[in-house]
């Protein structure tokens, strides 16, 4: 089966390519020339490597009322994502090889975006004993994380970094000091004080991040910081990279654009962990993304059932969806001149591919034909009722975004 994507602006930061031309696809691979059966007219469109979201919660198995693998990958391709990495904190946590195999099989059955399972660091996410990382890696797990929960025991985190080093995979850290964040629903500061809500300070993220960075330095293991939100975390991250410590990081679209002021109406769609913070934090995170200190953008797509969100703020679960809005929000930063287009695309393609060690994120000949076609000029209003995701809680609901995926090709198949 062959396909040609004609006359698009081929934009591949992994190879430093930015030129108008044709992209040829045959039998699921990018080739230099193909006998084209099917043609997609990409005139005026940006043609990038299929986008990769390295932090999503697909909820299956166990949380199917919030999302299933099928609805999750449908949301992914609608948002321009050809690959996602699925976090382990399902109701039945991904802590053995059999669950990794199951998730991959379900994703293959859905036939849309690729799903790369992330295995738990600890059994049952209990933070006590290591999960069978070796067997999970053999079954296809690309990284390990107890995300949703921090690894509170420093000795266990140390051992996780050491053990994962043998498997050549990163440990993705959800940095949170639970004793500092207990009962918190937003960032701690003047706003939480005025709203009469319990808040958690940036230090609750930055102190565990510093610990993890020191453990990474000591063990030589690979660390990746999930959802960086605080200026203090960015400071430690920058210093660590200057030292040559093997640490990478991601930021979510909401931490790149929204502040704690969003909570003024007590809406659940602005409640997540880590919380939205101050302008100073947002600026630090954006600057870090722009200069590469933060390597990747990842949505932390965390769907919940509607009835769970229709409650008073304190009772609502943490988490918002993001697969279908991430690209638009990131392109907004490019339009505002805060991040270059190359850095933005890299943060959604080559960077997550490199961190996860997957052979994606580029349009080089021979690569898998995962391609996203983007209309940079398309203006659209975010309407959660039209989401493919089962989750509807979006901090960008009602916003006009500029830029969206018009086609998403996975393994040479047009999935959106």
């Amino acid at each position: 089966m062959s396909l040609v994507v004609r006359r698009g602006r081929i934009f591949d930061p992994a190879r430093g390519v930015d030129e108008v031309g044709d992209l040829h696809i045959e039998d699921g691979k990018i080739v230099s020339k193909a006998g084209a059966e099917e043609v997609i007219d990409a005139k005026g469109l940006l043609v990038v490597p299929g986008l990769i979201d390295m932090h999503v919660h697909l909820r299956e198995p166990g949380g199917e009322e919030k999302e299933t693998i099928a609805s999750g990958v449908a949301a992914a391709v609608a948002g321009g994502f050809t690959s996602v990495a699925a976090m382990a904190n399902n109701l039945h946590p991904t802590d053995t090889a059999s669950q990794v195999i199951h998730i991959r099989a379900r994703a293959a059955g859905a036939g849309l975006a690729n799903v790369y399972p992330i295995g738990a660091v600890s059994k049952g996410l209990r933070g006590e004993e290591l999960a069978e990382m070796g067997r999970m890696a053999e079954a296809g797990a690309v990284a390990f994380s107890d995300d949703g929960f921090p690894v509170t025991d420093s000795a266990l985190m140390r051992h996780a970094l050491e053990y994962a080093k043998m498997l050549r995979r990163a440990v993705i850290a959800h940095c949170e000091d639970l004793s500092l964040t207990a009962g918190a629903v937003m960032n701690e500061g003047a706003v939480s004080n005025r709203l009469g809500l319990r808040g958690a300070p940036g230090a609750a993220e930055a102190a565990p991040a510093a610990r993890d960075i020191l453990l990474a330095e000591m063990t030589g293991g690979r660390l990746h910081l999930a959802h960086v939100s605080a200026r203090q975390t960015v400071d430690f991250l920058r210093a660590a990279k200057e030292r040559g410590i093997a640490v990478t990081a991601e930021a979510t679209p909401h931490h790149l654009t929204l502040t704690e002021d969003s909570l003024v109406e007590y809406e659940a769609r602005f409640k997540m962990a880590p919380p939205l913070r101050r302008r100073e934090d947002v600026e630090a995170v954006v600057a870090a993304l722009a200069d590469g200190t933060i390597d990747a953008v990842a949505s932390d797509h965390a769907p919940h059932a509607a009835h769970e969100e229709e409650r008073e703020l304190a009772a609502c679960p943490n988490g918002v969806v993001g697969l279908e809005t991430t690209l638009g929000v990131v392109l907004g930063l490019v339009e505002e001149g805060k991040v270059s287009l190359a850095r933005a695309v890299e943060a959604l393609t080559a960077a997550p591919a490199r961190i996860l060690g997957i052979p994606k994120g580029t349009l080089a000949a021979g690569s898998d034909a995962d391609v996203t076609l983007i209309d940079l000029k398309a203006k659209w209003v975010v309407d959660p009722d039209r989401f493919r995701s089962k989750g509807r809680s979006s901090p960008f609901a009602g916003r006009t975004l500029r830029g969206r995926a018009v086609h998403t090709i996975v393994g040479g198949k047009i999935c959106f």
Binding site: S122, K123, E128, E129, L130, A131, E132, M133, G134, R135, D153, A155, L156, H159, A160, E162, Y163, K165, M166, T219
Partner: protein, 315 residues
């Protein structure tokens, strides 16, 4: 001249008062112990018993950490040489009444002890004891520090099975971080100039030892002359050092198939007790390559040699 008397002449001029660790021994001392052990093994047991070179000497078995095989082995060695063996059992001892190790040492010293054989949970306990003893102190295993007679009996076994003790590539596989057997063997092979390969997950194999570290058992097996499997302890799983015995066996266990990759003449060792099906498969443990029972047998001769040499240095 009786055969034993001739052998005993080899003990002359031994100066070292205590056997606390391989770390302290020179290559020459190691070779002397090995040579003497071989000679003792060649003599008929009756000849040694009849001579009773340690008649009138008192050997004190001071096993604060429990042991069956090492204690029994030392006991047989001592009695074989004609010594009186006194057993110090922790539950009945004044140690449980809160008497300090120092006072216990002085107490047994006043009872007239020529040789104190100590096994203790604390690294350095034998060194401590030696400060308060006139007699000889032999380390039968201190914490995670050393187990010198184990390494020496391992060496004797290598000498017999492989035919030499130098020019070897020796692999130690498993929980090296917590193993006194591993440490003593590492110091020993370092002194002999052998190549050392340490294999296991990074959580169990520290960085600071001589030799190289490998995380891939199958990759190293074809090149090794000696493969020493170490026991995996379940408390390490609870301490978060490895996920499960199943995964450990899958990655680092010496299965029959893996043992089949070893080169001709290479041997499989284990200090015991074995966890069959965890670090070593039953078939591998029972195969002709495995010299585990030889190790046990050789323990008696090495301990006899140690006692005879240390007698030379008794005041």
């Amino acid at each position: 001249m009786p055969a034993l008397a001739k052998v005993l002449r080899q003990c002359r001029n031994w100066k070292r008062r205590h056997l606390l660790g391989i770390k302290d021994l020179s290559r020459d001392e190691i070779e002397r112990i090995l040579a003497l052990s071989l000679e003792l093994k060649r003599l008929p047991a009756e000849a040694i018993r009849k001579e009773a070179p340690l008649r009138g000497r008192r050997v004190f078995n001071f096993f604060v950490e429990p042991s069956t095989r090492t204690k029994t082995s030392f006991g047989i060695a001592a009695r074989q040489l004609g010594a009186e063996v006194v057993d110090f059992s922790p539950s009945a001892s004044s140690l449980t009444k809160g008497e300090s190790l120092k006072d216990t040492a002085r107490t047994i010293e006043s009872m007239g002890v020529d040789f104190a054989i100590i096994r203790h949970t604390a690294s350095g306990a034998p060194h401590f004891l030696a400060r308060y003893m006139e007699g000889a102190v032999l380390n039968a295993g201190d914490g995670t520090n050393e187990h010198p007679t184990q390494a020496l009996l391992d060496l004797l076994t290598i000498r017999e099975s492989v035919g030499r003790v130098t020019g070897l590539r020796v692999a130690l596989v498993g929980d090296i971080a917590h193993s006194r057997v591993a440490r003593s063997n590492i110091w020993l092979h370092e002194k002999l100039g052998n190549e050392i390969v340490l294999c296991g997950p990074p959580t169990l194999v520290p960085d600071h030892f001589p030799g190289r570290v490998s995380w891939d058992l199958e990759e190293i097996l074809p090149d090794c002359d000696v493969v020493m499997m170490l026991r995996l302890q379940s408390e390490r799983q609870r301490a978060g050092l490895f996920p499960s015995t199943g995964e450990y066996a899958h990655l680092f266990g010496l299965s029959q198939e893996r043992a089949g990759r070893m080169k001709k003449g290479a041997i499989v060792m284990h200090p015991g007790p074995m966890n069959r099906g965890v670090e070593i498969a039953a078939e591998a443990a029972d195969s002709p390559r495995a010299v585990i029972l030889n190790q046990v047998a050789n323990g008696v001769f090495v301990r006899m040699a140690a006692l005879l040499l240390l007698r030379e240095a008794l005041r």
